[in-house]
């Protein structure tokens, strides 16, 4: 499964890519690589450098810090961008809790990718703003 056309169709349904037309979605689909993680495998490791940016196509993963589960990520969610943008190792493990199919992009490709697709950058900024708001609510 998962030809470039099929990936583009899936991406069309994700908020992050909601502003793109089909030719752009096909281009984006070719920019990523599809990767698979068996249940229980780590996708990101707390403290290890040089990771990538991931968008979940199928499956669920736990976000754990020092072995304690903090949240979950699901289909359509993305992760890895914070450590790439800050140039720091991830502060959490991402561990597949079901078979996990993702699109992956190397960290070095993220900046040119976002600059090429400003509408994706804007959507990512919106998502980060929501995460920040929710974190602030949780603290208050």
């Amino acid at each position: 499964m998962a030809t470039r056309e099929e990936i583009a169709d899936i991406l069309a349904g994700f908020a992050l890519f909601g502003d793109l037309q089909t030719p752009q979605l096909l281009g984006v689909a070719g920019t990523f690589e599809e990767v698979y993680f068996p249940q229980g495998e780590r996708v990101l490791r707390q403290g290890l450098t040089a990771n990538g940016f991931f968008v979940i196509l199928e499956g669920t993963a736990d976000v754990t810090i020092d072995g304690t589960k903090r949240s979950e990520v699901h289909r359509g969610d993305f992760f890895g961008e914070v450590s790439i943008l800050l140039g720091e190792p991830p502060t959490a493990d991402i561990v597949a809790t079901t078979p996990l199919r993702c699109l992956a992009m190397p960290g070095t490709a993220v900046e040119p990718f976002l600059v090429s697709y400003p509408r994706i950058m804007y959507r990512m900024l919106q998502a980060q703003a929501r995460r920040l708001r929710n974190a602030n609510r949780w603290r208050s």
Partner: protein, 509 residues
Amino acid sequence: MASPASDERPFPPGEYPLIVVGSGPGGLQLSYGLRHYGVDHAVLSADQAAGGMFRKWPFFQRLLSWTKPYAPAARSAREYQRYDWNSLVTFEPELRSMQTSFMDGSSYFPSRPEMQSSMEAFAERAGVQVRYGCTWQSTSKEDGPIGTTFTLRTSDGEYRTPLLVLAVGVAQPWSPSPPGIELTRHYADTRDAAWYAGKRIFIIGKQNSGFELASGLAAWASEITVCSPSPAKTSIEKRSLAGVRARYVQPFEDSFLGLGVKILDASIAAIVKVDGGLRVDLKRTDTGEEMAVEADEVIAATGFTCPLLDLPELGVQTFGQAKLPAVTPLWESASVPGIFFAGTISQASPGLRKHGIPAYSGAVHGHRYNSLILARQLAETRFGVPMERPLLAEDAIVPFLLREATRAPELWHQKAYLARVISLADDGFRDEGILPLVHALDGMTKDVIAMTVEADGTGAIYPVVYVRHDGRLGEVALPGHPLLDFETPAHVEALRAALGSVLHEASAA
């Protein structure tokens, strides 16, 4: 194929403790490893002799992977493998670096027939036995009280085994499905180059195979267009083999100079017949603008998939356009235990892909080591073959790891993917050998030190040491070196500092 009455081929239909399917480099290397460890097994192959895809491809008959006949290491030495991407690897020095003896000196990229000869000679000299002309046709599995049994139906009859290893390559031509794709020809069916004299060629796909055709047909075609939705990058730009190889840079230069090659970023809406040829309707990736290109032939250089036959129906999960199987870090199906993968399919386990640089498991110089590791794992865990894990004196660890970082071909060819691993056992430090880094970090119950060689996509190459100790995982990148010598006093000091607490705690205990 021999008639049944005079059939002297090995491995007649029946029950075997382990069956390998495939006689390309992956199958040969795995079978060699299994024999070395004394594991009884059968090897089946649909081909008539050893070599796998190298019996047919690459189309222009010259490999992308090189073997340097002359290098800074003796051909019988382990270190020489760093300069020889094509020979299979052996424990016996006299069987090493076989590829060099089949090369005529005209290029350090072996020709396809030279590679084929080398593979055939390896099978013969290393004593790898294969039942050729035996085509795997379908599979079933049965779960019983002592585990799962797989039944393979073949052109020669039924085989039963609890352990199945598929080394069947990523060799099934794949094409996308825009309207009119049936009017195209796949890379695998490209005609003789002379047929393209004076013709206009449209090539779908910007991987190496697309640019191999664009390079090879430049002397024949009147116009060449290479097209896919995403832009292509060369290995020189990406500082890794992830891009189009330097051998095929000429079409890029021709494109930049406006000399007969056009490289387009566009998706294909349709391919239609028109007077005098074909018309490819396109939508540009950047603007969405519609355009069309006419050609005499459209070739889909769009890659290959794994020929896994009915395994997905048995529950083997696959992913990606190549339909690679979902596997564990030790290449076992993640969804059907007991089925393993070797050879170029071992790229299905991607490792950490640090800096986006892939392992080279899709090529012989990468997967030959994966096969030996798999053979060792199967021998130990499934057949009870005891494996040595030599004790290392504490003061030997730093020089040992730096020597490996400087010289081990496994670490140089499989950067950030394979590691030299030392475990911290109750009785001291033990050499666990070469293992996948992910397995060492996540799959071993013991605390470990793992040494890798890594690249970051800028051209820098440097060693990295990982330590998992007392539930914590850390990594330290050691300095690089302009001459790639990681055994300098500065490296000794840096590695001692990185391992400091681990070494001191162990010696105190």
